[in-house]
Amino acid sequence: MTPVLFQRARVIDPRNGVDGVRDVLVTDGRVAQVSEAPLPAPKDARVVDATDKWLVPGFIDLHVHLREPGEEGKETVLTGCRAAVAGGFTGVVAMPNTKVVNDSALVTELVLSRARDAGLCHVYPAGAITKGLKGEELSEAGELIGAGCVALTDDGRPVMNAGLMRRVLQYATQFDVPVMVHEEDLTLSAGGAMHEGATSTRLGLRGIPSSAEVAMVARDLVLLEETKGRLHVAHVSCEGSVRLIREAKQRGLRVTCEVAPHHFTLDDRAVGDYDTHAKMAPPLRGDVDVKALREALVDGTVDAIATDHAPHGVSDKLVEFEKGINGIVGLETALGLTLALVHEGVLTPRRAVELLSDGPARVFGLPGGHLAPGAPADITLLSPSEEWTVDAHRFYSRSRNTPFHGRTLKGRVTQTWVGGRCVFEDGQLKESR
C-alpha cells in the first residue's frame, strides 16, 4: 500500500488533544506519524498538500438506514456507502429495520458482505432487539453480536413493553453492547404528523407532543439505573430529554445519546406549507428545543452527531402531508450543517470534530475516531469555509429526500480515506472495482 504524506494540514484530533498544523504520515493503512516538524516524504509516497485544510479522524455515523435487503430502490449498501464517503464518513452503523429485518446472523452477514463488495467504508450492522421488530420476543443477541453487530436496536419503533425493555437492558450487559432506543410513546404520538405547537395548530395537523419522547426517556433511565445496562438514546429531539440525560450522566448512569443535524438546524416552522421533506420521526421540534439541543452539543450531554439517514422515493413524499413517509437523507449534508454551528460560534472546531468522530467511536466502541500512531488511517480532509449549494439531484445516495435542497452550506469534504486508501476525492468516488 502506497504511503501517504499529508503536508501542512490543520490536524484536529480531539482524543489526543491535537489542534494545530501538522504533517501526517500514513503507512500500511495506519497512521504512522503526526509531526509538528515537516516530515520527509518516503520513497513512492503520495504527497498531499493540505494547506488550509482540516485533517480529522474519519466521521462515524451511528444511525444510517441502508435499506438493503428489501428496499433497494431507495438505497443499497453500495449507494449508501457512496453517500457516506462523499459526506466524509468512514464508518456507518446500519439500522436493522430493513425489509428482511436484521434479527439473524444471516442478514448481518449479508450486509457485511455487501459492504465488503462495495469496498468504500466500514459498515457496522446493528441487530434488532426483538424478532421481526415486533416488540414481543428478544432476538438472539449473542448470535447477532457474534456475527458482527455492534448494538441492539428496534429503531423506527419504540420498545413499548417496559418489561421487555428491562430484560434487554439486563441481557445485553453480558455482551457489553449498547441498547439503542427510538423513544416514542405511541399512545402519545398516535395520529400525529408533526410537533405539537403553534405550527401544527395553524396547519390543522395532529401534533406529537414532546412528552411522547420525554416520557420514554424517563422510563428507560429508570430501567437503566436498575439494570446497570448501557443505553443509547437515538435522535434526541427535545429539551426535556436532554435535561433527563444530562442529570442521568451526572449520576453516573451509562447513558449516551445522539442528535441529528436536522434537529439542531430546523424547527417545526420548516414544515411551512406542508413540506413533506420536513416530515420525520421524531418531528422537528420548537425553537426552545433547538436551543436546548445546541447547548447539549456544547456541554457534552450529547455524545455524537448522527444523521438518521433515511432514504425514500419521490412518490413517498409527493402526497398529502399526513400520508408522507418519515425521514430525510443526511449523509451528504451533515458536515455542512455541523460546521454551520462552528461558523455561528456555537461549537468550537474541536468539539464539532469530536461529535462526528471520537464521540461516536466511543459510544459504540468502534475502531477509529482518532489519529494516534497505529490508529487506522480513516481520515477526512475538508475545506472548512468552502461554500457550496446543496443539489439533491447530485447526491450519491439513491434518494433525494432532503429539506436542504438549495441551501448554501459552508464546509466541504475534499478527500475521504479509509484504511489508508483514498475513496473520495474532489467530488469523485475512487472505487476499487
Partner: protein
Amino acid sequence: MRHLLGIAGWRRDELEALLDRAQAHLPGGPDASHVLRGRVVANLFFEDSTRTRSSFEVAARKLGADVLNWSYAGSSVSKGETLLDTARNIEAMGPAVIVIRHRSSGAPGLVARHVKCAVVNAGDGAHEHPSQALLDAFTLRQRWGRLDGRTVLIVGDVLHSRVARSNLLCLKALGARVVLCGPPTLLPPGLEEMGGEVTHQLDAVLPQADAVMCLRLQTERMSEAFLPSQREYSRLFGITPARAERMKPDALVLHPGPINRGVELSPVVADGPRSVILEQVANGVAVRRAILEACAS
C-alpha cells in the same frame, strides 16, 4: 386566476372586495348566468359533504358553468391512485376551477402546486374552510355593517375544526375580536399566535359576545377520549335556552351545520330569533358565486 386555499395570506381589502362582490350575487341581483357559461367547475369531494358540495354546485350553475361532480365513493382512489393522479385526470378535462374537499390538511395546496387551473379549498382536514368563513363574515356584516369592535365567540371542538381556524383568521382580518372557548383537550396550543383569545369558562365570556358561533361536535371524538361524554360536553359548552338568556339581547347565533340538536345547540335556540343559521345557508351560495367568479377570471 387565483387559488382560494385558505384565509391565510389574504389581506383585509381583498377579503372585503370578495364580500362586496358576493353582495351582487344575492337573490334579486343582476343576472350572472353568462359569467362562467361554457366553462367547467369540477367538484372533487374526497370526503362526504352534501351541503358544501350542493352549495358550490348551485353557485356554479347560477353562473352558467357546467358542473363535474367527482366523489370518493367508488372511485379509483381506493385502487391506489394518488391524489395527484386524480387531480391531473380531472385537470385533463379542462375545468376552470377545481373545488376540493379532502380529509387531509394541505391536500388542496398540494393539488394547486401541480395543476394549471384555479383551486378552491372546500375544507381540508383540520386546516381551513375559507368559503364557510367568508359566508359567516358576510352574514355578520349583513347584520352589523362592520365587524370592527365586535366580539365573536367560537365554542367547541377547535382542535379538529377547519371552520374555527378560517373564521379566526377571517374575523380578525375584518377587525373583530375572537374568543375561542372549549374544553382544554379540544383547544390546541398556539391559537393566541393566530390572534385568538382562549378560555374554558363559557359562562364568563358569554355576556361579552356579539355573536356565538357553535362548532359541530364530532361524536367520533368521544371514542378517542377527548371528552368524557356528550352529556358532560352539552352541560359545559352547549348553548341552552338558559345560556341564551344571559347573552346580549341582540347577540347572534351561528352554526356551520349540520347541527347535533341538543348537544352543542338546543333546538329552541337554533330555531329562535337569535339564529342566523338559514341566512348562512342562503348567503353561502352568493359567497361561493363570488369565489368562483374571482377564481375563474
